[in-house]
Amino acid sequence: MVLSQIRDLLNAEIHTCADKMDIDIKSACGADLMSDVMAFSKENAMLLTGLINPQVIRTAEMMDMQVVVFVRGKKPTSEMCKLAEEKGIVLLSTNLSMFTACGVLYKAGIVGKGSECE
């Protein structure tokens, strides 16, 4: 699904890299704990999170994630936007809760890729 459709589904605001709305997204992960994103997420191009700090952008960079969506009405700081622009990472924000945002995307065909917990 192209990112512009995701933006519409989540009624999201675009904060950086508005020219990248044609990125194709197939899978995503949702987490507020970056440690878990680093340990469990696999090949997901998009992160949904309610956490606001620059390490969210760093984590996305290290994990090859091209898009971060901030949920629950959280907005990235200007420092985070600057870092994301440098790295070419799209930042979106939505007023939806984490549960609802993930549910809307899952229903529309976005899946999650990661290690199952044993």
Binding site: M34, D36, M38, A39, P54, Q55
Partner: protein, 141 residues
Amino acid sequence: MSSLIRKEYDIPANDFSRAGEASSNVRKLLTQLGVNPTIIKRTSIAMYEAELNAVIHGNGGKARVEIFEDRIEILVYDEGPGIADIELAMQEGYSTAPDYIREMGFGAGMGLSNIKKNSDKFVIESELNKGTRVYITIYLY
């Protein structure tokens, strides 16, 4: 065999906003060298976790990165308080990170095991009140 490229990075203490810059630079370098993306990702994750550990637990430190024809060798070291029980620290879920680090989304006790998982060779040495050294080797082929 001597390394083809050798880089040193400072990891500043208590500067959480800058944590990850060294790893980001190495990532950029490996991309420029045309290294396989899977190898770049493993290297990035392992080094970033080690760098965060140095910021969170080691009062900052340094990283030395050497690229050989067949492998990447990373040493992240600090002169912090050291680890009392390495075996315990390696256990998933065990962490001594303070609350403010947890509020920032880290300190879940996954770091060291995640470094090991993403490395081909992983060695950790630590001495109380002297510091900690983390050696990471990742083969290019």
